[in-house]
């Protein structure tokens, strides 16, 4: 009899595991909780008696706090990014696009992959930013809702448009005017992340799925549907399914969406709310259908022909990971030059060919076709007009809304 080997994970599953626990944006690790809570606790400031440990108010200085710019004398820039979010060569250690940048400008890039999770990273840099100190980073990449929070708190610097000519010209229209940073005064997108519906043809076994409603209501899928722990993606898709615009919804709309989801949870329709680890459930067929991030689906499809995705007629959510320059960063001009560099078609194409997310740069198609014809024609990487028209973003939330909404969503997921 053939031995059943549960521990031997396929390449796709291993990748999913890695993504999930090392670089997942919804990743959850014991360490992340410990680290973030320790940071949170340290942020409570001031030793001694209980009464002495209030947390100081965030210094909300609109426009950010610059430090003296050392870009001229120190030809370097410190770039903090997520793991596996940059092109690498065959050796796996060098980043060709970054090296090309250094060759051209003489600016050395200290590239660190130290962002594993938005919430965790926020806990990590919060004490320094709240105290008005340098974080030691010139560029950080954070998902738009966290970018919006940092802008709201006045913890990032305003960009100098004269250093960003390519970025200004080549940024896709889709990403030009997020309501949390109109006209891109503080941030530029690194990559876009589309949320779509993915399904496993084998596990569906002929059941037809066209909309999120099918996932939430079809009794044949009971206990085999997955949703995301990322509140904006799950609620955003639900709002779209209810013909509401996630860019303009009210608190009542939000409650209605939560109630709609709650009904599905109560029926036992939803198996689990997941972070990046949905990929394992989907490939194994434990999820027949689920909400998924398009960048993952591109990779999963390549490994498993049963995996398919669909974009509901009601539309899909697109979020972005944004490039930001934190307060007191020492090399602001160098950082801006690096941001601008990634909006040139050639480096943008090289990056897109490697990391399969939505490329926010216009005019990349020809360059990308030279590297990888399939990628250039994949609407998940370079969305065409029809795709772009269906893309929606979640509106920015005030601090009170954020807490209230996250709390309601947490209750929905059981905690």
């Amino acid at each position: 009899m053939e031995q059943y080997e549960p521990d031997r994970l396929s390449a796709a599953r291993l990748a999913a595991v890695r993504r999930s626990f090392r670089n997942g944006r919804a990743a959850l690790t014991r360490r992340s909780l410990l680290r973030a809570s320790a940071a949170g606790v340290l942020a409570a400031g001031g030793a001694g008696a209980l009464a002495g440990c209030g947390i100081p108010a965030a210094g909300t200085t609109r426009g950010g706090v610059p430090a003296q710019d050392h870009s001229q004398e120190e030809k370097t820039v410190n770039f903090s990014n997520w793991t596996e979010y940059m092109d690498v060569d065959e050796s796996g250690r060098r980043h060709p696009t970054l090296e090309a940048f250094t060759r051209r400008t003489g600016i050395r890039v200290k590239y660190t992959e130290d962002i594993n999770d938005n919430t965790e990273f926020f806990g990590k840099i919060k004490p320094q930013l709240a105290a008005g100190q340098d974080t030691g980073r010139d560029i950080v990449v954070l998902t738009d809702w966290l970018a919006a929070r940092l802008i709201r708190l006045g913890w990032v610097q305003k960009l100098d448009p004269s250093n960003l000519p390519n970025a200004f010209t080549n940024l896709s229209a889709q990403f030009r005017n997020p309501d949390w940073d109109p006209g891109r005064a503080y941030s530029y997108p690194w990559q876009g992340i589309s949320t779509v519906i993915a399904y496993n043809k084998k596990a569906l076994d002929g059941v037809e799925v066209k909309t999120l409603s099918d996932l939430l209501d079809n009794a044949e899928l009971k206990g085999r549907v997955g949703l995301l722990t990322e509140m904006r993606d799950t609620v955003g898709m639900t709002l779209l399914d209810m013909d509401k615009d996630p860019a303009k919804f009210t608190a009542d709309d939000y409650d209605a969406a939560i109630a709609r989801l709650q009904k599905a949870v109560d029926k036992g329709q939803i198996r689990r709310f997941t972070g990046n680890d949905y990929t394992a459930d989907l490939t194994k067929g434990d999820f027949a259908a689920c909400l998924a991030w398009a960048g993952d689906v591109v990779q999963l499809k390549a490994d498993n022909p049963d995996i398919e995705f669909l974009i509901p007629d009601s539309g899909y959510m697109t979020s972005t990971d944004a490039l930001l320059i934190p307060n007191k960063a020492r090399h602001k001009t160098n950082a801006e030059r690096l941001i601008d560099y990634y909006f040139e078609p050639r480096p943008a194409a090289e990056l897109a060919a490697y990391i399969n997310f939505v490329c926010p740069v216009d005019g990349v198609k020809d360059e990308l076709a030279k590297i990888d014809e399939d990628a250039a024609n994949n609407p998940l990487i370079l969305p065409d007009q029809a795709m772009q028209a269906k893309s929606r973003a979640f509106r920015s939330l005030s601090s009170e809304e954020e807490t209230a909404f996250e709390e309601k969503f947490a209750k929905l997921t059981g905690a």
């Binding site: 549960p6 595991v17 409570a44």
Partner: protein, 308 residues
């Protein structure tokens, strides 16, 4: 002529070995210092901060001030008591399962394994060589809906029974309470086996012989001699399993569903997602207090002074 030699002056009393004794007096404290500092920085201070956080109010923008808002505790408890109850139930079930599985194995290693003893010990410890998360994820593959385990359980109608008991739902094991309890049991089993083994291994085999000589049947020997002497191991094993299992959130997150969330999941989401630090801190304190009370009662009841 007699010369009276003067009596030699009384030799001065040998000087008290004071310096070494003083050093000796301080040595234990010096040796304790690293541990104490460690505890101070990584335990005492965080506890103080947490206590402070739990009675603060405010927001990220306006900062948090200590307002002695103790109502947070009551609100947290009334909101999340189901998760507390569930955590205790799951952890207790896992602890009992660990004891039932671990005791025979520890007994075997201590008394019957002979030259296999080291090998079996290595097998018990070997899972620690890989990450906790990877091992828990492997369970998702083992218990997958289409996998052989679930298929077999389904064919034997075991799942009908467990579903009737409310431990599983439908034809699946994953994303049910059963999966979470099994995950907890699996992950904490070595913490049960190791103290049990050390306790059992210390029992003098001659006591068994003596019991035998006194016409005790093997079951009586176990009941009257072995088990009572292994009590320290049972107590410390159950504590080492129960305490971390109560606060665990990884198993509930990966193997569970929305209705199996434990208090660890609530604290995690309050701290990181909702950013309601006071509630998260209050929940942590309630959990600590609850565990402390339960453990105290348990140790009183089991009447063991020396653990291991």
């Amino acid at each position: 002529m007699t010369t009276v030699t003067e009596a030699p002056p009384l030799a001065p009393a040998p000087p008290e070995p004071e310096p070494p004794r003083r050093r000796g007096r301080w040595t234990p404290y010096l040796l304790l210092l690293p541990g104490l500092l460690w505890l101070l920085v990584f335990f005492a201070l965080p506890v103080v901060y947490q206590a402070s956080t739990s009675v603060q109010t405010g927001s990220l923008e306006e900062g948090y001030q200590v307002t002695w808002h103790v109502a947070t505790y009551w609100e947290a408890l009334s909101e999340y008591w189901p998760q507390f109850v569930r955590s205790v139930l799951y952890a207790a079930s896992a602890t009992v399962l660990c004891l039932l599985l671990g005791y025979p194995l520890a007994y075997l290693i201590a008394f019957r394994a002979g030259r296999w003893r080291n090998l079996i010990m290595i097998l018990v410890i070997a899972p620690f060589f890989t990450s906790f998360l990877i091992r828990t994820l492997a369970w998702k593959t083992i218990l997958a809906d289409g996998g052989p385990v679930v298929g077999a359980l389904d064919a034997l109608h075991v799942l009908d029974v467990t579903a009737w008991l409310g431990w599983t739902a439908g034809d699946r094991v994953l994303a049910t309470p059963l999966a979470v309890v099994c995950g907890l049991t699996y992950n904490f089993l070595p913490f049960m086996i190791l103290p049990l083994y050390t306790s059992l291994e210390r029992i003098d085999p001659r006591l068994h012989e003596a019991a035998n000589d006194l016409y005790a049947r093997p079951s009586t020997t176990f009941r009257k001699v072995t088990f009572p002497l292994s009590m320290p191991g049972v107590v410390s094993g159950t504590l080492l399993t129960f305490i971390p299992a109560t606060g665990d959130y990884v198993n509930a997150d990966l193997l569970g569903s929305t209705d199996t969330r434990m208090v660890g999941n609530v604290i995690q989401s309050q701290f990181l997602r909702v950013l309601d630090y006071p509630t998260a801190a209050a929940l942590s304190f309630i959990l600590m207090a609850a565990i402390l009370i339960m453990v105290t009662l348990y140790i009183r009841k089991s009447g063991t002074e020396d653990l291991v």
